[in-house]
């Protein structure tokens, strides 16, 4: 009589065991479930504890307070705002102020950072030492001190409004800020903008046409006279036909300050200067590292082609260096955005100062406000890194397989 061979366990069961518990098998699966349950339970306890405490102190939870009237003014608002607007509007004003300082700060930091890095790598001894000294100095001082320094230095250098420095009688510089005439839209504004858009699109099309001609037929076409003509001519034509696009409101000194015109407040200038120079020092080191990571042979190849040092850097070395530069550069951009929250030290109404500062102490809704603020910074950071990743992907694509 033949012995029946034992049936092997079902493959499905074995695969399931492996998938759920890994090498630890079913036991591992149970441990994972317990762990997740414990985490969920701890999270629930924390939330329940917070809610119980808030109830004991009779603090209302929820976001209803955002519709209440703010009752205070801010010194810089990029959208119309007054003391009788809601906290939601205050939040938007603060957010726009933060974004303004971050975007402009990122731009200048990048420009200065690249220049300083190139300076440090320059064969000119003086230039490289000065750049190196700048980086060492700025990197090692705390940012808050630098912000205060720029603020006090900027303020101390400027005269008070009654003795402001004026250009052409329309631009005034004083310790209340830089006042410029404000453009106010006229009926001719929309056609003007439309004309500019058409002109830009036309120029891009012309450029593509010229490149196609160069690559396909080897013909060099000079398009710059046409581009200039279109860029200047179309808007000019529109303002002749439809009327001037803007009229200017000129500032005048009345009493204590200037009324009319637009103003750039010294807090904004000081904060942007401090953030740009500080982050530029870090960016300079990152760029230098990136450039030095490119093989020296590339530079030699460039000069063997007859290119000068500047062209070699621009066309050959830096594009290759960008792959090394981009991730730390993204870090520095995020740092700059978050560092802008130090604005409260000099009275610049950014998101943290206006929302997580004034609104929080007026309404007492600490948990909700801090959650919103953290969420907003997280969102800004994620968007910034997404943009930089996209740029890096594009760059990687164009550099080859």
């Amino acid at each position: 009589m033949a012995v029946e061979p034992r049936k092997p366990p079902l493959q499905l069961v074995a695969q399931l065991q492996r998938a759920l518990g890994g090498r630890a098998g079913w036991g591992g699966f149970v441990v994972q479930i317990l762990f997740v349950a414990a985490l969920a339970w701890i999270a629930y306890e924390i939330v329940a504890n917070a809610r119980a405490n808030l109830q004991a102190q009779r603090i209302t939870a929820g976001f209803g307070f955002m519709a209440n009237t703010a009752g205070f003014d801010v010194s810089q608002n990029l959208i119309p705002y007054s003391g009788s607007d809601s906290y939601t509007r205050v939040f938007l004003v603060g957010l726009l102020n933060t974004l303004a300082v971050s975007i402009i700060g990122i731009f200048f930091a990048t420009v200065i950072g690249f220049l300083v890095a190139l300076g440090r790598l320059s064969p000119n001894w003086l230039l490289s030492r000065i750049s190196g000294g700048y980086v060492e100095l700025v990197r090692n001082l705390p940012l808050l001190f630098q912000i205060l320094f720029w603020y006090l230095a900027v303020l101390a250098a400027l005269p008070n409004p009654r003795q402001s420095i004026s250009l052409f009688g329309s631009f005034f510089l004083s310790n209340r800020g830089f006042v410029v005439p404000k453009p106010i839209g006229n009926p001719g504004f929309e056609p003007f903008v439309f004309a500019i858009v058409i002109a830009v699109v036309g120029s891009l099309l012309l450029q593509r046409y010229a490149r196609k001609q160069l690559f396909d037929h080897g013909r060099m076409i000079r398009i710059w006279p046409y581009v200039l003509g279109v860029l200047f001519g179309l808007p000019l034509l529109s303002s002749l036909v439809f009327g001037a696009p803007v009229k200017f409101e000129f500032p005048e000194l009345k009493g204590f300050n200037f009324s009319g015109g637009s103003r750039v407040i010294p807090e904004f200038v000081a904060l942007t200067l401090a953030l740009s120079t500080y982050t530029a020092a870090f960016i300079a080191e990152i760029v230098r590292a990136g450039i030095q990571s490119v093989h020296k042979g590339q530079m030699e190849a460039g000069s063997s082609l007859g290119l000068q040092r500047g062209s070699t850097l621009r066309l050959i070395v830096v594009p290759q260096a960008m792959r090394v530069i981009l991730p730390p550069l993204t870090n520095q951009y995020l740092n700059l955005t978050k560092n802008s929250s130090l604005a409260v030290a000099i009275g610049y109404p950014d998101l943290v100062s206006v929302f997580a500062g004034t609104t929080l102490s007026q309404t007492g809704q600490a948990i909700e406000i801090i959650t919103i603020t953290m969420g907003v910074y997280l969102l800004i950071s994620l968007v910034t890194s997404a943009i930089m990743s996209f740029y890096g992907w594009r760059l990687g694509r164009s550099l080859g397989p």
């Binding site: 009275g347 100062s353 600490a366």
Partner: protein, 338 residues
């Protein structure tokens, strides 16, 4: 597996033992042996550290009085300096037991912040300070001026109301701390500095040339300043409330820091009640029989505390004004201790 399950059990037990904040601040303070008191960051006369790190001021003395009532030792206080932005969160979260930081008593603070005011230490109002060189004599001449304030205060809101109500334009620059605001005012960034009038006198002492600055006559708001405690703890509220009232009552009855022991021997029924010889008012509060003598021995009565910190005996030299006793022309009035 055994070790893992032990870790789990401990974690769950630890999580189970989180309690909601129970309303037992007095017990917590007594167990801790120290009162945690939120004060300002350096407002002379109200709460400021001297060069050796000892805190002095009117708000500081109120906290010392509470500590003396509980521990018979006015030194058993930990002072936590807070800016106007952080003060309420510190109280809500339990970092401090009482906030004594020249905070204005308003309805929205009494309700939405989860805290109660215990009384009024100082009746004040908001005013403006300008440089004398601007030749301004009234706040109504301040159209389109730049104003420096500290952010997160009633000052900001009153300022908005006042300028809007009088159809004047202005530019407000709000700083995180008082010192930054004062520095900006001094550097000329703004024309006007505004805070409570007592704060104006106090901050003027910090300026390079106090005589160059004038306090304008307009007082544009009511600012009753007093200590704050958390909602949901009536016993603690009573302790802090009646400490202040004890100081005011002591001045009413002529009890001073020097004559406490003498007065304690008095036969008058009122004195016997106050000093605990008769009745058990102290125990009803959760304190000891001699709670009033502890308080007065530590910081003196209200008048002495006022004089020493902000009045005639100090550098500020502010007159009693509204803060005088009710039967001497002011409005400081304590309910009867009986």
């Amino acid at each position: 597996m055994k070790r893992v399950s032990l870790v789990f059990t401990l974690a769950l037990a630890a999580a189970f033992s989180t309690e909601a904040a129970t309303a037992q601040t007095l017990k917590t303070v007594k167990d801790r042996g120290m009162l945690s008191c939120g004060v300002g960051q350096g407002l002379p006369g109200f709460s400021s550290p001297d060069d050796k790190g000892n805190w002095t001021g009117l708000d500081v003395d109120v906290c010392r009085a509470v500590a003396a009532a509980i521990f018979n030792d006015a030194a058993k206080v930990k002072f936590v300096p807070l800016s106007a932005k952080d003060r309420f969160t510190a109280l809500q979260s339990g970092e401090i037991d009482v906030l004594s930081r020249n905070t204005t008593w308003t309805l929205s603070r009494d309700t939405s912040l989860g805290a109660n005011f215990t009384g009024v230490t100082y009746y004040d109002g908001q005013g403006f300070m300008v440089k004398k060189s601007l030749k301004v004599n009234s706040a109504l001449e301040l159209n389109s001026a730049s104003v420096c304030v500290q952010t997160g205060t009633t000052t900001e809101q009153n300022l908005a109301d006042y300028f809007k109500g009088n159809n004047m334009k202005y530019e407000v620059i709000a700083f995180g701390t008082n010192d930054e605001a004062i520095k900006a005012y001094e550097s000329g960034r703004c024309d006007v500095f505004t805070t409570d009038v007592s704060g104006l006198y106090s901050d003027r002492l910090k300026l390079a040339n106090a005589a160059d600055h004038a306090v304008l006559p307009e007082v544009i708001s009511k600012e009753p300043l007093g200590p704050m405690v958390r909602h949901g703890d009536d016993q603690w509220l009573d302790v802090v409330r009646w400490t202040l009232y004890a100081m005011i009552t002591a001045e009413e009855l002529g009890i001073t820091q020097k004559n406490v022991d003498e007065m304690a021997k008095s036969d008058k029924p009122e004195m016997k009640r106050i000093f605990g010889t008769d009745g058990n008012l102290g125990e009803q509060l959760g304190l000891t029989k001699d709670w009033v003598s502890r308080i007065v021995k530590a910081v003196g009565n209200y008048g002495e505390t006022f004089d020493r910190n902000v009045g005639a005996g100090s550098k500020l030299g502010i007159a009693r004004g509204l803060n005088q006793l009710w039967n001497k022309g002011g409005i400081q009035y304590a309910p009867p201790i009986r």
